[in-house]
């Protein structure tokens, strides 16, 4: 008996072959996609690890640069001080007082920190003052006083050519830390807020520390005498706002002084 060929079966078989082919291709594609994804994930991980490593490296280098800069600046200040036979702790104390004043005055933390680093250089111009004047026991005569006073200008000239923010700031400090609120300071005779806040802050910090320390030409003042003088000089030598800040936060200043005493 002749078997009847059902055309439908042919068609279904053809569909079946096509279906198998298509699904095989799909399976192959999915496998490929998975493979690509796995490779990509692996590479991404390596790349991210590498990035992290590089970032850490850059951070270390950056810190190294900053530390070196701080050290150089601090050493420069110490050189200035050592020539006038003062201790390195004077520089450290002035730095810390300056930061406290800056923060309470309302300067941002980063700026206050920068001022802390810059203020040790306030007397750097003294490296150019002759020893005979710098370390003269007793009072300077008029002519000697004039030479001594040039240290502000000298410090400014030394630092002003730099574009680094820290050195720029230090040049302002060196230039203006002997200006007085009432306009009777030097070298420019500026008054009030025409004196840069960095100069006003360092002026107070420097005087507070200088009065409390003994120098070749004078004994250390006791606190009562210093505070009395500060009150008298509020709005005269010093920015009144800074004097107020000083007395309102006296404890902080005394703590710094106690922690950085001069070794006799």
């Amino acid at each position: 008996m002749e078997t009847f060929e059902n055309k439908l079966i042919d068609e279904i078989e053809e569909l079946q072959t096509k279906f198998t082919k298509t699904t095989q291709k799909l399976i192959k594609d999915v496998k490929r996609q998975d493979n690509i994804m796995a490779r990509s994930d692996k590479r991404q991980q390596q790349e991210y690890d590498e990035l992290q490593r590089k970032f850490a490296e850059v951070e270390t280098l950056q810190k190294e640069i900053e530390d070196t800069q701080k050290e150089i600046v601090f050493t420069m200040g110490a050189i200035g001080e050592s020539r006038s036979k003062e201790t390195g702790n004077h520089v450290k104390r002035v730095a810390k007082y300056s930061k406290i004043l800056a923060l309470h005055y309302g300067l941002p933390e980063t700026e206050a920190e920068l001022l802390k680093q810059a203020s040790p250089m306030h007397d750097i111009g003294k490296v150019a003052i002759p020893d005979a004047i710098l370390n003269k026991p007793g009072r300077l005569n008029e002519e000697e006083r004039l030479i001594m006073d040039t240290h502000s200008q000298l410090g400014y000239d030394m630092l002003n050519s730099s574009d680094r923010p820290l050195l720029k700031m230090a040049s302002i400090v060196a230039y203006e830390h002997h200006e007085k609120w009432n306009g009777k300071g030097y070298p420019q005779g500026l008054s009030g807020e025409d004196i840069h806040i960095y100069g006003r802050i360092t002026a107070l910090a420097d005087v507070f520390d200088a009065l409390g320390s003994s120098r070749v030409y004078k004994e250390a003042w006791d606190d009562e005498r210093i505070f009395k003088m500060f009150k008298e000089e509020r709005g005269e030598h010093f920015d009144p706002r800074l004097i107020d800040i000083f007395f309102e936060n006296l404890e902080e200043f005394l703590k710094v002084r106690d922690s950085l005493k001069d070794v006799k």
């Binding site: 490929r32 996609q33 493979n35 690509i36 994804m37 490779r39 990509s40 692996k42 590479r43 390596q46």
Partner: protein
């Protein structure tokens, strides 16, 4: 048939498709913003080339130092096409060139070699 030459950019490789020499060459990095759009002219060219404009043997040089995952996918599609051509009797010689320090380029090359057993696929360390 006109050759197709594309200059290397920050994100894309140089592409040199030379019908007279029978050369298909990609050198550089491959992470375009839109991979499939970027490679469309190349894929079109390759199809047209193998549609009767091809040399007896075509040399395919890939020297890709960095690529994104969609480039990987596109290269699979490309080699699929080459494999179809092989089945149609068109001969190719593929050189996957990688730097010895570039593990991911080597691994990807190995994937292609494994996936396209029918093709004459060589891994060449630079």
């Amino acid at each position: 048939m006109e050759n197709l030459i594309m200059e290397e950019t920050k994100y894309t490789p140089s592409i040199n498709l030379d019908a007279q020499k029978g050369l298909i060459e990609l050198v550089g990095k491959s992470y375009p913003e839109n991979t499939f759009e970027f490679y469309k002219p190349m894929m079109d060219w390759v199809e047209e080339y193998f549609n009767g404009n091809e040399q007896f043997i075509t040399t395919i040089n890939f020297e890709i130092i960095y690529f994104n995952s969609s480039s990987s996918k596109l290269f699979f599609d490309f080699f699929d096409l080459i494999e179809e051509m092989r089945e149609a009797g068109k001969y190719t010689e593929i050189n996957w060139i990688y730097d010895k320090d570039n593990d991911s380029a080597l691994e990807t090359g190995e994937d292609f070699k494994e996936d396209f057993e029918e093709l004459n696929f060589k891994l060449i360390e630079k």
